[in-house]
Amino acid sequence: MSAAWETFPHGADIGVRGEGVDLAEAFANAALALTSVITEPTGVRAYREVALACHAPDLEILLFDWLNAVITAMAVEGLIFGRYDVRIDDDRLTARAFGEPVDMLRHAPAVEVKGATLTELEVARHDGRWVAQCVVDV
């Protein structure tokens, strides 16, 4: 992976993958990959902040919850996020997502993400780096 995040193909939809030195960084990068499904993350101005929190029985469900929390916050608030600060303590995640209201012209959103799925869901350590990934339904 050249960047710390990327998307990967799935039949009708798309996978998101984040990598990091620790879990929190991998989760934040997975969320950036999620943003990239909709629009180019570097084109999002980060002047609105939303606090998010979730906890789950295992790390994979925690990733599922985290990405869905981001999807829901974007849908309910009409926002798009371009930066994520994530903290993970055991089974609890707290985060701040930074972004702005969706601008149809400037962001030209490609697609709306319906939800994160359990497909290709994986949170694991490979060669000393954490990888967090799943397919999202669009």
């Binding site: 193909p9 039949g11 029985p57 030209a108 697609v111 339904d137």
Partner: protein, 477 residues
């Protein structure tokens, strides 16, 4: 590419996997050699995994347009008996609960549309909310939200978004019974607040089309279709509410799984016994999601009629039919000579009742159910009809669309949105969308050959071809 070694060919259009390794029933795939070859290996893996679920009846079926889904393949069908420990699975319905297609006939011709094609495209694009972040004319909360989730299209008609006769042409009369709005989460309702009457994005569209090929004159006449006639096709689902119900219950079923005593072969095939608190809660919430989708397509019908009334005074738009292709429905089916109540999951598959089915509207009953199959922006759509043989072939089910041949990422590399728009314009198709990247991802070349899928559906006895519809105006989410 599918490895067909484990398949036995049992007919020219039909392949079977005999039960092995914990499969409780066979898996049956409908395809010709080309479609089978194009199917992802995951289709085979997923459809055989479905047969390992408790209480499955008959077989699990993959339609000719099947592709890799979530637990179930998209284009996957399976029926379960609650009395035999059967289950309900979120993956067997999908995130976009009751996503479907509605077809409106008009009293206009291709020539009428072509005279005002650009005005019509502009007016529809201005009136039909499409794409991420778009909001509808209807804002719902509290009792109004509950009423919509309880009433579906009947609620929307009562609100002035249609006519009573529209309801006769919608599955279940426009409202599925047993909805439990109280079991839909507050988050789901918040997501839906401003989304009723919106198209969404991805492969959702509203198209003005023309009937350009008729395969079955008798059925076409019965359906009110004739060559050169303009029609309107609406493809969308239950918007944010349905997506959130899917998310909420997928998580609940995955977390609950270790406690149910049944470990699904794949975590994404999370399910709950039909006779369990969680299973019943999902059915109730999912039915509210179905009603949400039916209300959504009804509101979009009302908006479309407004646009046509302004541009074509005297235009009459009638609902030919409305089908849902992401559902789990309680139905009566005859198994080995005995009638049984089954919960039929259709994930990316359309119900296709054959001639004589009592649930069909009286005037369509002897012709079979209209099966509306959406295609890509360039290839158009099909109207098929449920056949006598559909029941034995697949619990009265057929295909739902073209299915992707190329991933979104590959399509983005291959196509430019602007170029796709220009190419379609050169073929007389006006495409309007808020996103050129979205257009590239949905380029016609990213989809499989719908002609072949429709042909195989007919030959396999799932649904017979009635007419082909070619696009003239496409509003893409």
């Amino acid at each position: 590419m599918m490895d067909a070694k484990s398949l036995t060919r049992i007919g020219e259009w039909c392949w079977r996997v005999e039960p092995h390794d914990g499969m409780r029933a066979p898996a049956i795939l409908y395809a010709d050699e080309t479609l089978l070859w194009e199917m992802d290996d995951k289709v085979l893996e997923q459809i055989t995994n479905v047969t390992r679920l408790p209480g499955i009846v008959g077989a699990a079926y993959a339609m000719p347009d099947a592709h890799w889904g979530y637990g179930f393949p998209i284009g996957g069908i399976a029926a379960f008996d609650a009395d035999e420990g059967g289950v309900v699975s979120v993956g067997g319905v999908g995130f976009d609960i009751s996503c479907g297609v509605r077809l409106l006939t008009t009293n206009l011709t291709r020539a009428d549309i072509e005279r005002r094609q650009r005005n019509l495209a502009d007016a529809l694009f201005a009136r039909i909310p499409a794409g991420l972040g778009s909001t509808g004319a209807v804002v719902l909360a509290g009792a109004n939200m509950e009423a919509m989730l309880e009433g579906g299209a009947t609620w929307a008609v009562a609100q002035g978004w249609g006519e009573a006769r529209d309801l006769e042409r919608i599955e279940e009369g426009g409202r599925v019974a047993g909805a439990r709005p109280d079991l839909v989460s507050d988050v789901a309702k918040r997501r839906q607040r401003k989304e009723s009457g919106t198209l969404g994005s991805g492969n959702h569209y509203l198209e003005v089309q023309v009937v350009d090929r008729v395969f079955d004159e008798t059925r076409a006449a019965a359906y009110g279709l004739e060559r050169r006639q303009a029609v309107v096709s609406i493809h969308c689902g239950s918007r944010g509410l349905g997506h959130q119900i899917g998310t909420d219950f997928l998580r609940a079923m995955a977390v609950e799984a270790p406690r149910t005593g049944f470990r699904p072969p794949d975590r994404e095939l999370a399910c709950a016994p039909l006779r369990s608190a969680l299973g019943e809660a999902y059915l109730g919430a999912m039915r509210a999601g179905i009603n949400c989708a039916l209300a959504n397509r009804q509101i979009l019908t009302g908006l479309t009629r407004q646009v046509f009334a302004e541009l074509f005074p005297g235009a009459e738009l009638k609902v030919l039919f409305d089908v849902s292709h992401n559902t789990c429905k309680e139905e009566r089916h005859r198994i080995d000579g005995a009638e049984r109540t089954l919960f039929v999951h259709r994930k990316g598959a359309t119900r296709a009742f054959g001639p004589g089915h009592p649930e069909l509207p009286r005037e369509l009953r002897c012709f079979g159910q209209p099966v509306l199959v959406g295609g890509s922006m360039g290839a158009g759509s099909y109207v098929l009809a449920g056949m006598e043989s559909s029941e034995a072939a697949s619990f009265s089910s057929a295909c739902h669309g073209a299915g992707r041949a190329m991933s979104r990422r590959a399509a983005l590399k291959e196509y430019s949105g602007r170029q796709v728009q220009d190419d379609l314009a050169a073929h007389g198709i006006l495409l309007k969308s808020p996103s050129t990247r979205g257009i590239a991802e949905e380029a016609p070349g990213a989809y499989k050959d719908l002609d072949r899928i429709a042909q195989v559906s007919e030959h396999a006895g799932l649904a017979a071809r009635v007419a082909h519809l070619a696009p003239l105006v496409c509003i893409k989410g």
